[in-house]
Symmetry: D5
Subunit: 88 residues, 10 copies
Amino acid sequence: LLYLVRSASRVPWGMETDVARELGERQRAKTAELRKSGICLHHWRAAAQHLSYAVYDVASNSELHDLLKSLPLYPYSTAEVVPLVTPS
Amino acid sequence: LLYLVRSASRVPWGMETDVARELGERQRAKTAELRKSGICLHHWRAAAQHLSYAVYDVASNSELHDLLKSLPLYPYSTAEVVPLVTPS
Amino acid sequence: LLYLVRSASRVPWGMETDVARELGERQRAKTAELRKSGICLHHWRAAAQHLSYAVYDVASNSELHDLLKSLPLYPYSTAEVVPLVTPS
Amino acid sequence: LLYLVRSASRVPWGMETDVARELGERQRAKTAELRKSGICLHHWRAAAQHLSYAVYDVASNSELHDLLKSLPLYPYSTAEVVPLVTPS
Amino acid sequence: LLYLVRSASRVPWGMETDVARELGERQRAKTAELRKSGICLHHWRAAAQHLSYAVYDVASNSELHDLLKSLPLYPYSTAEVVPLVTPS
Amino acid sequence: LLYLVRSASRVPWGMETDVARELGERQRAKTAELRKSGICLHHWRAAAQHLSYAVYDVASNSELHDLLKSLPLYPYSTAEVVPLVTPS
Amino acid sequence: LLYLVRSASRVPWGMETDVARELGERQRAKTAELRKSGICLHHWRAAAQHLSYAVYDVASNSELHDLLKSLPLYPYSTAEVVPLVTPS
Amino acid sequence: LLYLVRSASRVPWGMETDVARELGERQRAKTAELRKSGICLHHWRAAAQHLSYAVYDVASNSELHDLLKSLPLYPYSTAEVVPLVTPS
Amino acid sequence: LLYLVRSASRVPWGMETDVARELGERQRAKTAELRKSGICLHHWRAAAQHLSYAVYDVASNSELHDLLKSLPLYPYSTAEVVPLVTPS
Amino acid sequence: LLYLVRSASRVPWGMETDVARELGERQRAKTAELRKSGICLHHWRAAAQHLSYAVYDVASNSELHDLLKSLPLYPYSTAEVVPLVTPS
């Protein structure tokens, strides 16, 4: 099952620089892992915007939910989830 | 897999009364069928608004897509599709 | 009387971790209680979004109001309330 | 049970003048009837806008739905329905 | 002159609990006073939302302005003001 | 009592050129009349947009409503009405 | 050249009361000055909303920009600027 | 004086192909003329969208208004007009 | 260069069935061609919505523009174009 | 390749005045540098609004992304990026 996830993430102003940097690094590590495992098929940034697009291939809505909740930036993200179909 | 579908349907002004009535009847028949088959778990109307909510239980995004495309009012509907998970 | 309640909840950044965790636990306990009592007929999360949908069966608008105001996350929630009817 | 109904109505351009006038008259007659019966407690127009506000006192969501669907301008209206409670 | 005022009020997170509670009490006292004086004809809460609707009967726009500015929650409110007319 | 009225008017595509031109002329005549009578204090167009702003000085919400309803382009307009006060 | 400026201003919660009061006083003084000089032709408040409307008569876009930037509440304002023309 | 004009234009469905094509040609001719005269400094299309951006250098709001009203697609356009200043 | 194009297409009500069907077939043929040529890397439908997402790999903004303008449904589409970058 | 970038920047309330001023100066220095190098073709401020428009000429989406990310106010900005084409 394919899903497009459009997510806008912003670390809140006031978070200490060290904490924010570490969050960013853990997010990148986790994302790279999902890419390698084949769960995240595509991952792009919208040029010059605080916005990313990813396409996930998962077995169920629950798997998608658990997966995105495990991302370090999840508490600071607003996501839009679009279930996709491949045109025949 | 559960999905919430919020859809707003309006027959275009100018469509002949007979055609519109027949469309409405075919939509109700099809919807009743989906309810009986267990594919459509819930179906509600928003009171006094041209808006309905339904929860579908299907095996994939594609099954949901094919199913909703087969509804007679699909060409005159705007839908929002929300993949659901059940809180543990 | 059936109502669909779509609510987005977010604990404010800056709230201490302990306080936030305890709030979450009390919310889950209260929600489970409402499910068991039959007042909350359905409760879903939108996959990978900070958003939930619930359907309540109550005797009046006031009962719905009092009930949702008693939820621990009410002060941090934005809700949309849709009165429902069952299509005949 | 009290409900606030905010509705925007516009007869489509292209509808013949006679038909539109008759619709308007039937809508006024029906509205006056609801006012007299005590079902519609209040009815106002937003000054200089194609918009009206009404407060209904009904026994259920279904009664509200059936009542508003019976209004002649229902097919040409967009309504927002707000369940109300009286502050203690 | 009748006006519908739809207002959303939220005490900012971070305000001390005592201050917030006192604000709420003063708001309720002031509102009750306006109801008794006949200036505020109706006052409702939208069920389960941080939102209220009120109808005021005042002699001028300025009277409405001074009155609403005197409410304790005014600095934390966002209001929409709709001048009303009574259909003949 | 002062009111700012922001209105967007568009003659529907399909209206015959002669009818549209006559409507425009009647609208201008009526507007000029309101300006001369002192009821319409100010009247501006937003440069290069299908949008106008006017400030009316009337005795009541009803007078404003009747006045704007009498404008020939009223059926093709969407208005926003803002009750004004003069800062002391 | 005439411009309509619609601006919403709010002093951030957390600013000390003394600082906020002084800002308000300086804003009123500056505004009164612009009114007297003939640069600000009109200045209104939207009744019961945190919103004001002003019409400026300036020689250029730059003059308008410099003028509004010099207002004490500029950093806490969100403005919409509409270039106006006078209907012939 | 510089202005950014963002405009979305669409010929209404139902307009005869010949009429639409001729409108497009007249629009292009007029636009080219404004570019050559130095009144329109820049003119771009948003790639793959029914949207264009232009920067005009005119002596007044009225000149901008008259100029844009003279464009053949003006009746089928929705424009946003932003007065610009050059940062020093 | 990668671009995400989100486009909503709807054949206008009133277009004859034969014309609409032929448009749809030509759109599918053209899209398949772009997929085979490697210009369109991905093409998905949002399940049960009148909405599609595609990722194009082109040499310039102009190439993207010319390509999308050549699609048969372009006149009946509203597109959002997002320039993408691949996270390093 | 040309891109229009519309960006709204606001230093968060609470940032110390010295830090904010230094940020502003570094932003202006960097912007001036981009103007001189020919990468930023145009740069305007919307009069009296916290908003700027710039047109960039870059070789790729990635170059645009890296360039805007290097601006000191990037973390406090919300940008809209429009790929442009020049009408033939």
